[in-house]
Symmetry: C2
Subunit: 352 residues, 2 copies
Amino acid sequence: MVISVDAMGGDRGPATVIAGMAESAGRNPDIRFIVHGPQAELERLIARRGDLARRCDIRDAAGVVTMDDKPSQVLRKGEGTSMWSALESVRRGEATATVSCGNTGALMALSMLRLRKLPGVNRPAIACLWPSRNPQGFNVMLDVGADIRADAQDLLTYALMGASYARNGFGLERPRVGLLNVGTEEHKGRPELKQAHELIPTTAQAANFDYVGFVEGGDLPSARVDVIVTDGFTGNVALKTGEGTAKLVGELLKEAFGKSVMSRFAALLAMGSLKRLQKRIDPRRVNGGVFLGLNGTVVKSHGSADATGVSAAIKLAFRLAQSGFQDRLAARVAQSVAAAGQINGSKESEAS
Amino acid sequence: MVISVDAMGGDRGPATVIAGMAESAGRNPDIRFIVHGPQAELERLIARRGDLARRCDIRDAAGVVTMDDKPSQVLRKGEGTSMWSALESVRRGEATATVSCGNTGALMALSMLRLRKLPGVNRPAIACLWPSRNPQGFNVMLDVGADIRADAQDLLTYALMGASYARNGFGLERPRVGLLNVGTEEHKGRPELKQAHELIPTTAQAANFDYVGFVEGGDLPSARVDVIVTDGFTGNVALKTGEGTAKLVGELLKEAFGKSVMSRFAALLAMGSLKRLQKRIDPRRVNGGVFLGLNGTVVKSHGSADATGVSAAIKLAFRLAQSGFQDRLAARVAQSVAAAGQINGSKESEAS
């Protein structure tokens, strides 16, 4: 199983990405890489990692997409960058999935240009993982920022894609899907949400998921639901709000424990429990936004990810590649489009 | 200073509301109440609270607005409920502000019907407090659910009203106002956000606040900003997401400390620090959504508030009443409408 890795564009530079690859390679004997970036620099970094060189092809790419580059610029001038090159490996079928720590907007724009959207998908989505009370330890939320708009049909597609992701990525037989709204009552929310609320249940049976109806912001970490569907504006605000809140509580906790000799001593005693808790809500463990709705699997790692974070994103890419996720997702969407066509077709024939 | 209190409609019933009033009365010798609900029941509850009866007028109202009542029903049949009666006291000028723990949608609908919108305000807003890194300990966010839509002009009005609230409620001379978006770059976000981003700075000087530009979900608890402006859909999702995340982290923390004898002992040692932390992020301390943009001050307490929470909401209502907030806010909005009229006027004369 080959994963294509963009070594450049993350906040911590290629050394961290290579370290993450080495971590993954050490744990997973079945993984191989194609890595993209300036040849000489990558050779030097990989040579330090002993065994890694044997499992790694380098594709020379001098250009780098920076965090400040606008997607429109990257679309025009992106050829020759490591990001473009990393996507090419997936497009040509040399790798099953790709991982990048780079600029999210640029990566989505290039992915749409080079990999193209799946037939039947109008707006691709970015799915993130959210620490939760569920046995699997997290919930899936999409879209968290591919597009600031989504109509009812897009939200239906997100439900299908999110359910497929949860099934193939995390072994959930029949994921429970909820639609994010400002209340759980039927009359609440924007018109497109009310439409989607009517639309989604009609495909839930065929697409093998349960629709639990409207959910609220407080349900994101709950065990009521496995997949949360929303537009990319709301999803992005919710994601960053959750991260910001968890960070604030963590910082205040650290301050509280540092305040007195007694509480510092207490922190030492509780170290084991606190470490386990930290691990449970560690954002590095759930690192990896997955782009859904393209002809190819793209995993976007946090720009600031360290080696552990990069390794988590690679693991996610590998797991999806191994499960045959891409083909299954494409089949689900095609089936749904066909079913919708039949419904529309039969409506038309009724009307005629 | 008289505060009108709706004793009914909260999840914990009138006993909790009366207990909260007693708590406030004990701390604040300048406060008086008009309390609304079934006369006999309220008399009985107040009689138990010693001194409270002397500072409290009862208005008999047999009807109760429940959490399940739809706003449209309450508009038609709400006369005779304690909620309606509580608003009447403000409308007639017997009380300066009102507090209710009841159904938010119904309270907003009744407030708009009975108190009417301030001239120049198209959509009223609900402002909440958000624990933050700022010296005042929290930030103001609006709208968190009065209306699921907001255009650029509404967002400008929210900026004015939020700044006025922060100034009068919390003594911030020159509040810093940010506009919630999915990124801080100018080209990001929905069209109405880009328009508001142009519009808000034009009134910041005259309205005595600083506009810091776009902010993201992660900035809600930050010290970069005092007031965060957004539409009621996004604001409601963000509020509930933040509450849900803080709750999850708190529960996991409790579990972590309960896990072993050692960590239970550690928790005992750290009790003082943890209690201080809990107090800092205690949602009861920041209890009270304020309805802005009406002819009268309405404070909405959490439905599940306990006596401490009710008392915090009453304190907020009292502070706003004391500062002359209502008149100042009305003056700000009127001034801004006049200024906008002048701008439009001069544009028209230029055009003609």
